[in-house]
Symmetry: C2
Subunit: 377 residues, 2 copies
Amino acid sequence: MSGAEEVGLVTPIREVFSENLALASGQTLAGFELITETYGQLNSQRSNAVLICHALSGNHHAAGRYNHSDPKPGWWDLHVGPGKAIDTNRFFVVSLNNIGGCDGSSGPNTMNPETQQPWGPNFPQVSVNDWVTTQALLADRLGIDSWAVVVGGSLGGMQAIHWAVHYPERVRNCVALAAAPKLTAQNIAFNEIARQAILSDPDWLAGYYQQETVTPTRGLSLARMVGHLTYMSADGMSDRFGRDTREMPSDAINAGEMVFQVESYLRYQGKQFSTRFDANTYLLMTRALDRFDIAADFDDSLSDAMAATTCRMLITAFSSDWRFSPARSRELVDALLASGRPVSYAEIETDAGHDAFLLDEPRYTGLFTAWMQQVVI
Amino acid sequence: MSGAEEVGLVTPIREVFSENLALASGQTLAGFELITETYGQLNSQRSNAVLICHALSGNHHAAGRYNHSDPKPGWWDLHVGPGKAIDTNRFFVVSLNNIGGCDGSSGPNTMNPETQQPWGPNFPQVSVNDWVTTQALLADRLGIDSWAVVVGGSLGGMQAIHWAVHYPERVRNCVALAAAPKLTAQNIAFNEIARQAILSDPDWLAGYYQQETVTPTRGLSLARMVGHLTYMSADGMSDRFGRDTREMPSDAINAGEMVFQVESYLRYQGKQFSTRFDANTYLLMTRALDRFDIAADFDDSLSDAMAATTCRMLITAFSSDWRFSPARSRELVDALLASGRPVSYAEIETDAGHDAFLLDEPRYTGLFTAWMQQVVI
């Protein structure tokens, strides 16, 4: 990573689409908007474009800062920038907030043009399929016939895989990090508990909280605590928190009480998240995650699904990720191999759990960077 | 298990203790009551007594039925009865509801004699230490100088270990199933999420819900969903639920909606639990679980703690139990061996997760039964 820099100041772009969007659910959106960011320069052959697909709580702001006093760069700044794995000296990088999200693209907290009210709980259920459809429309608009790379982690990796399977002519390389061909029952169960936490909050108001200017922050905070905990590994948590205790600060409900560090950490994470994320979006995103099943359109044959791909593929899993375990990534790899497709597979030894794909783990960073350098543009 | 029968009809017994009980927290209970059950006959030498210690949500009703139309026997009926592992033809079995519980023993939903109001949130925080103290007073009353066996699973196993370490002269055999010397950060974090679910329920009312004749059922239900999910294994859930879906019944909020089986199962489990358990008790029990650390009184040396034991010991873990993993049981075994203590260790291959200790897994049942048959009375 020596010599790697940030992409600098970036500005979100609003892309307005007036066409009707037929969703996988059977519903139709009469037009939609996407908030995007781009980093680097599109070359004259339009052959160096990389699409970043975000995960459950991500958005379009993957790299760079909005102003010089911005305290934090985008969520994947460690891997997007000059000299980084997704090298903005070589690539033109496109990042977007998916529809149903809560960071500017059409979703529960934007206006329903028909009612001039926030969509709230009436925003239609979206799916990985729908997101890829809108990303393809965005590619059309940008004049990108085929992506040099489609890349994503977790739910983002599922979008990358969907691209590779359903738009093989438009994806030359695909990177799926900490992903899975579909969720397990346990994984669905964690999402369901997060959803029930939101639905149990009296400020949920059947999803119409925006009209009442309240937000179900307790439920959303609890939902995030469940998620955050499952994205860490047991060993990682032991190393970081052990059984250390701390006194709750004077502004806490239980001021002065001794609690374990891990408790106070999780409460803080939950609270922070609940101030920036939208509860209706959380329900939509987890439902989309639960329902994703790449083999479903291929008579439940994962090999047949993978046989539809034509791109170079990198699958990466993290040893301590128990929410999207290496075993699930290996199912993808086995299916690709069974179909005679080219695939590189890396299982990174780490205590960082599911969130490792967001971090700068040396072996992961090195491998990801080297693989991306081999992408032909 | 051939020839094994049930213990038949049983009746709870109320034991009233008028002495002051000094708790580990520094607080004092001015008298307390224990609800108990016994199965089998105490022999004339009073040498065949077995103490069952219950886990987080357990109680005194370990075996038998209350009447002939009782639909379910006690919670450990599979392993307590004539010819079973805890053989009531040989042993006199004592089971109790711990203080702080919600099934009749002194706890948040019993009366505070000083105020003539339910204790509610003012019932003092209790600990494994306190439970064992009250169990020892119960043994005194029953004329039991030493237990043939002290046995428990999970939090019950922690009590059994505490007995063996702190009352070596009163325990001749000790069985700790799916237990641990202390909780990990991850384990504490799951308990904290369960607690926050209760504390976030508007019907929690700072614990004074009994006076208002409401109960924080949503929070308690959510707490149980978290717990229940973590007591199952990922593979076990995949086998049982997979990605099967079902339509929600007509009396559900989301009637007609298709949901995954595992979602509807967890919601049902949560709802059932919330009608039988007390939220203040749930907080007390999880706090006691978090704070248990058998090595704490021995300068954090687990070997020194185990060196204080003199009994024959059986430690059993279950391969797919990730909440109290085999690695944690092996810490106990290693410490016992390092101290030259006799110990049998069994790691049972099963998909049943933490709850396996409650079930009739053939290898577990066989081994547990054989080990118990070797207990000298």
